[in-house]
């Protein structure tokens, strides 16, 4: 890759439960791009990617516990900074 920033990525099973999460990530991270492969959605973003609970709740209209993403989470790369309201992947220490 020519850029000096490495990508972080996160991948989910491509299903009904993961869809609002994917849509929330794409809404919150303008630089992120989603690739659909059979059964899987992989989202790449340069340097940094944030999942926000509030955005997922807007998508679903219901309260959401961020730990629910683990049901459909397949893989990820990047250092994790996580609390009740958000999960951020980045390469910063």
């Amino acid at each position: 890759m020519s850029s000096s920033i490495s990508n972080v990525f996160i991948a989910f099973q491509d299903n009904e439960e993961a869809r609002p999460v994917v849509e929330a990530i794409l809404a919150d991270n303008p630089d992120a791009s989603a690739a659909h492969t059979p059964g899987l959605v992989k989202i790449d973003a340069p340097g940094r990617l944030t999942i926000r609970r509030a955005t997922i709740e807007e998508q679903t209209g219901r309260a959401y516990d961020l730990q629910q993403i683990h049901v459909n989470l397949v893989t990820l790369s990047g250092h994790i900074d996580e609390d009740d309201d958000q999960l951020t992947l980045s390469w910063r220490h």
């Binding site: 059979p38 209209g61 219901r62």
Partner: protein, 330 residues
């Protein structure tokens, strides 16, 4: 022999149903949208209903509110049957454990007799108010138009029935079964309940489903629930050692806050559609909020004594603020 396994992606020809794609475009839609959009029967009604031959079976003309698209009245909670039942089942589990907590520790017995009698005097007649709410929301569902509007109204009707059942169960835990009969007698005969009874019974015969929606869900419930479950149960009773009652009615304020989002969203979208709708709905709100406040004044007095009038005024101001936020001219 080598077997070469390859993953091949098969693109579906359609991402969603044609009736949904007509609203959202051909992209994957949520289950809520698939259960809602385009589900309203709209054509090929061979016979007019014998009980109301002036209208088709499903007819937009039963209400004075005009919408170009009745599917615009979406539910922000995105309830369809599955999500609604799952949400209520979770709340039912929480209520069961509340009951278990209260019963295993004998919390009801630790309340004074006078406090228990007052809680029953206020809450038992409200079973009949909740039943009226059930009937009225069934009526909104039956006479309204557009699945987006009518399906949540039916859920709301069943929720009202649930509230009535929780109140019944509360009465049976607090006292002998005769307490239900006493509540019914108060509802039918005690002068202080007759204004509210008149309001409930007058709304039972309203013909316009949107007017009924405003009268029941926005005006009456918008005042009743904050007054009774907010001011009386959670503040007044709890301070005097009646926390058990607050635990056994925990569903009601939680449900009211949740369903208020739906009610506000419906009112907001319908009022923003046209100046005529805005004038109509604002007029209904003003009239019914005034009537509901008058109907609840004796109840506030029974529940909170001399603080009742102030508490009722406070919830009225909060409801006016809610209505203004939904875009009504208040």
């Amino acid at each position: 022999m080598n077997i070469d396994l390859q993953a091949r992606e098969i693109q579906p020809l359609r991402q969603t149903f044609a009736r949904v794609a007509a609203y959202t475009g051909d992209k994957p839609a949520s289950r809520y949208l698939e259960a809602t959009l385009g589900a309203q029967p709209a054509a090929n009604f061979h016979y007019r209903p014998t009980w109301e031959p002036g209208f088709e079976l499903f007819d937009t003309g039963r209400t004075a509110v005009r919408m170009a698209d009745w599917y615009a009245l979406r539910d922000p909670r995105q309830y369809y049957y599955a999500t609604w039942t799952m949400a209520r089942a979770r709340q039912q589990d929480a209520m069961e454990s509340n009951y278990q907590f209260v019963e295993s520790r004998g919390l009801v017995g630790k309340m004074s007799d006078a406090l228990r009698a007052r809680a029953c005097a206020v809450l038992m007649p409200l079973r009949h108010v909740a039943w009226g709410g059930n009937m009225n929301n069934c009526n909104v569902c039956a006479r309204g138009y557009g699945t987006a509007f009518t399906a949540p109204a039916m859920f709301h009707a069943m929720d009202h029935l649930g509230v009535a059942q929780y109140l019944t169960r509360l009465g049976l835990v607090m006292d002998e079964p005769g307490v239900l009969e006493a509540g019914r007698n108060d509802w039918l005969q005690a002068p202080r309940w007759q204004v509210l009874r008149r309001y409930v019974e007058d709304t039972l015969v309203l013909q316009d489903p949107f007017e009924l929606f405003v009268a029941q869900n926005l005006a009456l419930d918008g005042l009743l629930y904050p007054l009774v479950y907010g001011q009386f149960v959670d503040e007044h009773l709890a301070l005097q050692g009646g926390t058990a009652v607050a635990m056994l009615t925990a569903f009601m304020p939680e449900w009211h806050d949740e369903s208020a989002r739906w009610i506000d969203a419906v009112v907001k979208v319908a009022a923003a559609e046209s100046p005529e709708n805005l004038a109509l709905i604002s007029g209904w709100y003003a009239a019914y909020a005034q009537a509901a406040q008058a109907a609840l004044a004796p109840v506030a007095d029974l529940a909170l004594g001399e603080q009742g009038a102030g508490a009722l005024q406070a919830v009225r101001e909060a409801l006016d603020a809610r209505a203004r936020k939904a875009g009504l001219a208040v």
